[in-house]
């Protein structure tokens, strides 16, 4: 449950020290706009984990996700002054991350490379010694979810990831993706159906 709370909360990042929690996103943005590098570091600490998770869900490559996360924050730093007043920082960052990931995916498509999940390491369970059944099940489930996500088309994957893993509202998803609410509802519904078909046995277990 603790990990769940960490995953679902964008504002309370593990590792982010108490001082950072006392800074509102608006304050951090204002300070970072003035050139306060420490404020931007706090923004990074607060949002780097959800951003890298989101990107990883989209691109399915660990190293690439790290590189694209860096790129996301660099772009965010450059465009911080363009962040309109009242806009939610997490939504804005997810929007940048989505664009960065999409650019990367298009680039890879041009180079005729298939987008594959790097789950070989996850599947390689033999060298990890005896593990509890639940742990094995979790590892297997991780692979299944990862593969199921990779099987979704881009739009469904983005919507599903933002809603299920990052608890974004429909409005926020619409803002991040640029989709209309009806479209994203449809995509989300279809993504759920597809995912259910794949992970259904695990749910019943």
């Amino acid at each position: 449950m603790k990990r769940l709370a960490q995953e679902l909360s964008l504002e309370g990042q593990p590792g982010a020290f108490a001082g950072s929690l006392m800074n509102s996103s608006a304050d951090l943005v204002a300070r970072a706009c003035q050139g306060d590098q420490e404020a931007f570091r706090l923004i990074f600490e607060r949002y780097s984990r959800p951003i890298i998770s989101f990107i990883y869900d989209l691109v399915g490559d660990r190293e690439l996700a790290e590189d694209l996360t860096q790129e996301t924050f660099v772009r965010a730093h450059r465009g911080l002054k363009a962040l309109r007043e009242g806009a939610k920082l997490s939504t804005w960052l997810f929007g940048i991350a989505k664009n960065v990931a999409r650019e990367s995916l298009r680039s890879r498509m041009r180079h005729q490379q298939r987008v594959e999940l790097d789950d070989a390491a996850v599947l390689d369970l033999s060298d990890r010694g005896p593990a509890p059944v639940d742990q094995l099940l979790d590892r297997e489930l991780n692979v299944v979810i990862r593969r199921s996500l990779a099987a979704l088309d881009d739009d469904k994957r983005v919507v599903f990831t933002l809603k299920i893993f990052h608890q974004c509202s429909y409005e926020e998803i619409a803002e991040i993706t640029g989709f209309s609410i009806p479209k994203l509802k449809t995509d989300l519904h279809r993504a759920r159906v597809e995912m259910r078909r794949r992970i259904g046995p695990y749910v019943r277990v």
Binding site: F40, S53, F73, S169, R192
Partner: protein, 306 residues
């Protein structure tokens, strides 16, 4: 609420996006409908599965360092380009700034002027004005051979050695080094400072006026109480030479529009003419008349003030 309506809203209900009124109706329906409740449990079961999803991702320690370096580098380059473009743009609308180059040039000019003044002063001291020098250099001394050649033969033949009065005047001047120095100092330091010479012409004029001033002082110092004839041979020849020079300088000053110089030279000219027209052995009344005019008109002061 019917089951179809509930199932249609169930997804929004699970997502927390159903309107409040619909959410209340769905909640009430789920209590009474086992099928719909089972569907709801499937959704919540999926949510739990997704919540257990662990990507096994960690933020590398080096990531922030890389991001920070890139952002700092970008900020610096942006500042450079902004500064460069601003300077370029501002340069289009600003007057040229001389700054260091201008002040350096001014400093060089000032040093050069100071060196020039020192050089000219030293040069003057090495070649003092004739009136302040030794016997040979004294304008009151007999003219040199060159001067004699330019003088009319009548004057030349009638030119005696320097008169006792002139010698006395000369001696009295040469015996008053302090006073002479003071005059020279006034001339060099205040009235005829080299720094005031803007060109060669002005320097010639100043030199000419200085000599004329000496001549007039010499005339003013002549003792003319007796009715004896006074030997003014030297003064006469000097006056002729200065008269020719004066005419040329006055015309030049007039042509150049230097009216103060022209005025001074114009005031000086009648005296030079009168002196030049004196006989070698001038009657004392004639000399006295000139002396009186020199004193009354304060021509010497006028020459000094120039």
């Amino acid at each position: 609420m019917k089951c179809n309506d509930c199932l249609n809203l169930l997804e929004q209900y699970v997502d927390g996006e159903a309107p409040e009124r619909d959410a209340e109706q769905v909640s009430a329906h789920l209590i009474t409908c086992a099928d719909c409740a089972r569907e709801f449990e499937t959704f919540t079961g999926e949510q739990e599965i997704y919540a257990r999803y662990d990507r096994e991702l960690e933020i590398p320690q080096s990531m922030w360092g890389i991001v920070a370096a890139r952002t700092v580098e970008h900020s610096a380059s942006e500042a450079r380009s902004r500064s460069g473009s601003r300077q370029w743009f501002a340069g289009l609308f600003t007057l040229p700034r001389f700054g260091f180059a201008f002040s350096s040039a001014m400093a060089v000019l000032i040093v050069a002027a100071a060196l020039g003044v020192i050089y000219l002063r030293n040069h003057k001291e090495l070649n003092p004005p004739l009136i302040a020098g030794g016997n040979n250099a004294n304008p009151l001394s007999p003219p040199t051979k060159t001067t004699e050649e330019t003088n009319p033969p009548a004057i030349e033949t009638s030119t005696p050695p320097i008169s006792p009065r002139a010698m006395e005047a000369k001696t009295s001047k040469s015996n008053q080094p302090a006073r002479k120095k003071s005059v020279a100092g006034d001339q060099g330091g205040v009235l005829f400072t080299d720094a005031a010479y803007t060109d060669i012409e002005d320097r010639d004029t100043a030199s000419h006026l200085e000599k004329a001033q000496d001549l007039l002082i010499s005339i003013r110092n002549i003792k003319s109480d007796d009715d004896e004839e006074i030997d003014v041979t030297y003064e006469k020849s000097e006056s002729r030479r200065l008269l020719n020079e004066n005419i040329v300088l006055r015309r030049d000053a007039e042509m150049a529009g230097k009216f103060p110089a022209k005025s001074v030279l114009g005031s000086l000219e009648p005296f030079l003419i009168d002196i030049a027209n004196l006989p070698d052995k001038a009657p004392a009344p004639d000399v006295r008349q000139i002396k009186d005019r020199v004193q009354k008109t304060e021509i010497v002061a006028e020459l000094r003030s120039y």
